[in-house]
Symmetry: C2
Subunit: 473 residues, 2 copies
């Protein structure tokens, strides 16, 4: 076709970018195809350069490294294997160490709910007798604060774990590594939301003296529980394994009940435990979290992999870690959750985003599997179609689909698994996280639930550091 032909033939345009250009042409009767296109990395020159360097001049085969990380994430088989006391089983745990959710943080920078939970933890341990004593001790430098994630552990919301607390023990059957999490306390006034009243401490004590020892015996009688099988089922029962856990809790109760009955324990004690589980649909959260943790941990530390193996928040910072960059954290400010508030509370009461529960999204369930749990919008806000759209968007930033976790309404498509930080930055699509909302002051508790976006800079910073590390010189 000559140039002359071009001006004689009917004009057919393909438009990239701003749709208003296409609209102008259409108004003049020109046939236009609008391409859904945005500039990579939102046009951020430094990020485009980093992506280019990694694409054109990598020091290592990134795709091969990611294939290995993906393989490890897809093949991980989380088994609930036992119950122990933190100081006996969690690596490095000791009485003057307090584990918390999210990336590392000092007492001085801790958000209200985390401070409240630390106070509660020190009271629970008997290291302080009053709130004031606990605050003084926490500020004294005599207590060490470290992330749960540094000790193979995860904790919802404040995520406080102290040495006497009982923990669930998980093992990744495929790769052998372990993970740990405390027991879920229920809703309302609970330590993980920063409450530390006598009611909270009494419950923690009962969990230590009654609930955990009984659960330990039940697990010994039952044998290890295949949590991958349970998680696969809950996704067919309206749960997503993070904020909707009614099916998961129900399945654990029916799994354990026949063994609970057979224990040599007073029946009042067993009945109280069954009533406690029945009254707390989030019982399952503290099982789905360590199940995810031991799976993603097996995909960590793979040289050259851009897969995100940690996302976590401490109420002040949101942080991520990449498989190929070891233990290095990349952080940004924790966001404010948009969602539904309990009666009497508003966004003005909310603490910023907090907790390790985003381990579920990191492993490909939770917010990433919201399409399996459309009823969750009653808890976190929005309409059912949003839940489907969130899941669909997450396929854009992940490298694989689960072989086990399937979403019926998406024709049993596997959940989006293994987030590639390059895709997050290139497409400017941030991971979807659904979460609870804590009151910003210590001692209050839960005020709502909703959806939150992580800060974009931590993904960009991680990509920049990765490009620095892995571009050939």
């Amino acid at each position: 076709m000559s140039v002359a032909d071009l001006f004689q033939a009917e004009l057919k345009a393909v438009n990239l970018g701003l749709e208003s250009f296409a609209d102008n042409l259409r108004q003049r009767g020109v046939s236009v195809v609008q391409m859904d296109w945005r500039p990579p990395a939102g046009g951020n020159i430094a990020m485009i350069a980093a992506l280019d360097r990694l694409a054109l001049n990598p020091k290592i085969d990134i795709e091969a490294a990611n294939a290995k990380a993906v393989q490890r994430m897809l093949k991980g088989k989380p088994m609930l294997v036992g119950v122990g006391i933190a100081k006996d089983v969690v690596p490095g745990m000791r009485p003057d160490l307090i584990l918390h959710s999210g990336p590392p943080i000092t007492w001085a920078r801790m958000a209200g709910p985390m401070r409240g939970a630390v106070i509660g933890g020190l009271l629970y341990e008997g290291l302080a007798k009053t709130r004031e004593e606990a605050e003084a001790l926490a500020a004294s430098g005599k207590i060490t604060f470290e992330p749960c994630h540094h000790h193979g552990s995860v904790g919802p919301m404040a995520g406080i774990m102290t040495s006497k607390m009982p923990v669930w023990i998980f093992q990744n059957e495929t790769y052998g590594n372990y993970s740990y999490a405390t027991f879920n306390e229920g809703l309302g006034k609970v330590l993980r939301y920063g409450a530390f009243s006598a009611e909270v401490l009494d419950r923690l004590k009962w969990m230590e003296t009654d609930l955990a020892p009984v659960m330990k015996k039940v697990l010994a009688a039952h044998g290890p529980v295949d949590m991958r099988g349970i998680l696969a089922q809950v996704l067919q029962m309206g749960d997503e394994g993070h904020n909707r856990n009614r099916a998961g809790t129900s399945l654990m109760i029916r799994e354990f009940a026949p063994y609970l009955v057979m224990l040599d324990e007073p029946k009042e004690k067993i009945a109280k435990i069954l009533s406690f589980l029945h009254a707390n649909d989030h019982f399952f959260l503290n099982l789905s979290m360590p199940a995810c943790k031991c799976v993603v941990d097996a995909a960590a530390g793979i040289e050259g992999s851009t897969v995100i193996t940690t996302m976590a928040r401490n109420g002040t910072d949101f942080g991520i870690r990449l498989s190929g960059l070891g233990d290095q954290w990349f952080t940004g400010p924790a966001g404010i959750v948009e969602g539904l508030y309990l009666p009497g509370y508003t966004a003005a009461d909310a603490a910023p985003d907090i907790g390790d529960s985003v381990i579920t999204e990191t492993a490909g369930i939770g917010g990433f599997a919201m399409a399996a749990a459309p009823a969750i919008v009653q808890f976190v806000g929005g309409v059912p179609q949003d839940a489907i759209n969130f899941t669909k968007a997450m396929y854009e930033i992940t490298l694989a689909e689960s072989d086990f976790y399937k979403i019926p309404i998406l024709d049993f498509r596997g959940t989006p698994t293994a987030i590639d930080v390059r895709l997050v930055v290139e497409k400017s699509i941030l991971p979807v996280i659904n979460t609870g909302i804590a009151h910003k002051e210590p001692g209050v508790g839960m005020v709502g639930a909703g959806l939150v976006k992580p800060p974009e800079n931590c993904f960009q910073d991680a990509l920049a550091a990765f490009a620095e590390e892995y571009t050939a010189t």
Copy 2:
């Protein structure tokens, strides 16, 4: 616009009926709007006449009668109130009476699975010692066969109830009426699928001596269970209350477990019961069925109402009853179920459609709520979108939407409730039923599950009879 204008202006057509007419016009460049239209009642002249007579010359205010029936169906509150022995609690029950599913039928016309279950029932009652004795007794005229539905009861598949069998007792709290159903035996070799081996009879005996008395005590301790609340929940957990009952069974276990533990019973007995419930996801079916039965029964017998208050099959005939025509049955041949077969079986092994479980669809759940249970297609065949489409189609033939049973994926729309026989006939849209498939021979059991269409003639016959009864002369 003059006729001359018409032929000069651009032609714009609206096409009713056969779409090929529209296609022809489109091929000639004519703008066509295709209306989704079919002749009423598929063009059946007698049915159109019946519908017209009822519309133009009714003897009674049909809409007012239906409003009353709908109100009763929407306001019914099914409560599980107790456990009893059939002969003690089911109205009219006696040792020489056997209740069965579906419309009335004689021994001579019974399908294989129902004969098998009758044989099992007579062996269980001690009225016969061998299969041959049982068959001779069943054929002798000394045993009376009547539908469960004539005794306030419902039974899945063969639906056999004999005098010694334990039954769940339901009461419609709003209207006071009662309903009954036997206990679910689990899957595989079970009486309701026509099996009657020693294994089947031993299990029935254990249910009589152990399971039912314990459940009776549990209910006494727990108090009545609000089954409307439970059903509302299961629809948000991937169940539809007919063939997918994993959530329902789980919720009942967690509801009962704390009370089971506290009973003054050997713990081995309690553990065996909890294991039995855990191993049988259809435990809940025999609770959802009588829950639906006591609700639709309250809407029966309303003069002038075209609402369908019974659909049921005995393996030979499919039958319906209308609210405004009392106890009169309208029947047609039971269909063959299209679905998925267990390994080793094919459609050639299948008995025709059987069971009272279509009471769930009659009440607006089950197949009518399939959109809430997309994972069910793995059990009954098809793809998840089919499940959504089936539910949407049922809004076409129902008069109301449930205030309690909501479907998350349809933006929490209430389930389609109260089938109007006029709409079924006028639109030629038959109720969607999902169901299990029994082997056609006595003694074998379940061979699969799927979807089945009821025979259209019973709806047409019912409409004709209704028009006869309710047209003013």
